[in-house]
């Protein structure tokens, strides 16, 4: 169990890193893009870049405050 936990922690740190909120924003933006494209017929190519830039700025702001 401990080994499984450490493997999980390694891969989490490897892919997600210091700020999990960035990963959440990326996944949410992709989900929203999928819905907009397939359900609403909107070619929302701009949504993911905008969310990525905002997430990066937000994460940097959190890291540089205090």
């Amino acid at each position: 169990m401990r080994r499984l936990k450490s493997i999980g922690a390694f891969w989490y740190d490897f892919v997600v890193g210091d700020d999990w909120r960035v990963a959440v924003v990326v996944v949410a933006a992709l989900a929203l893009t999928t819905v907009l494209v397939h359900a609403a017929g909107v070619n929302a190519w701009w949504l993911l870049p905008v969310c990525v830039f905002a997430a990066l700025g937000w994460s940097l702001r959190r890291a540089t405050r205090s």
Partner: protein, 256 residues
């Protein structure tokens, strides 16, 4: 899209990781012994090659749309991690990656450790140091090779880029016999972060069903835009004097 951008991106990303692995291998080889170091390195390379051989062909069997969505998300998250650290380093909130000091740390630890042998390995410390260093840095290379290669349906080209980077760094390391501290590693990491994030956005959105204006040519706009935004973020206010950049308030010290 031609294979050249794929090969170049993988080459630069893998060169950065190879430089870090070289520092560890040199510390193990020069302060302990070369035979055990090479054994550790060889076993790690065999494990990495087995991962690529197993995952590379398997992952290309997935439907392209699902693959691009999953890999795009992973690459965007992974790339943003690189980019975030690179910007924090550029703005002084995180200490710059310095191969010379990393080498000194490894050498000090290697000199202090005792010698014990196991099986055919004469110096277990040198073996594990080289094994872990090459495996951990190599995993990032494998990740990039598989994601980029699978998405372009050209794992071979990605492997060529990675192999070329490893050979160039290894040959340079053998000639110099010192960590490659003069390589602009932090600038290279910044560039790699931009490329990983850009490709992640491009493939992720394509996987979500988006049709990019200009199709593949959109990357020619997306990459400079990501670079521009990242450069703008480096204009963030610098930390006040007296605060150590090596101990930023919310940062853990990790390798990439």
């Amino acid at each position: 899209m031609t294979a050249l951008p794929l090969i170049l991106t993988v080459f630069v990303a893998c060169a950065v990781e190879a430089i870090e692995a070289l520092t560890i291998v040199l510390a193990a080889g020069l302060t302990r012994e070369w035979r055990s170091t090479f054994q550790g390195m060889a076993v790690a390379l065999a494990v990495l090659a087995a991962i690529v051989a197993a995952l590379g062909p398997t992952i290309t069997l997935l439907p392209l749309t699902a693959l691009r969505l999953a890999v795009g998300a992973l690459l965007a998250v992974f790339g943003l991690q690189w980019l975030r650290k690179a910007i924090l380093r550029a703005t002084g909130y995180k200490s710059l990656h310095d191969e010379a000091s990393a080498y000194l740390r490894e050498v000090t630890a290697a000199k202090a450790a005792g010698i014990s042998s196991r099986g055919r390995v004469h110096d277990w410390y040198a073996f594990t140091l080289a094994f872990k260093g090459v495996l951990l840095e190599g995993l990032e290379v494998v990740f990039i090779v598989i994601t980029f290669g699978a998405n372009q349906r050209n794992v071979g080209a990605a492997v060529i880029g990675a192999a070329a980077a490893v050979v160039v760094v290894a040959v340079t390391g053998v000639l110099v016999r010192a960590p490659l501290a003069k390589v602009p590693e932090n600038a290279m990491k910044f560039a790699v972060g931009i490329m990983l994030t850009s490709f992640g956005i491009f493939w992720g959105a394509e996987g979500a069903g988006v049709a990019w204006p200009g199709q593949d040519a959109a990357l020619l706009v997306l990459v400079p835009v990501v670079a521009l935004v990242a450069l703008c973020y480096t204009l963030l206010p610098r930390p006040r004097r007296g605060r150590s950049p090596a101990e930023p308030a919310t940062e853990k010290v990790v390798s990439s």
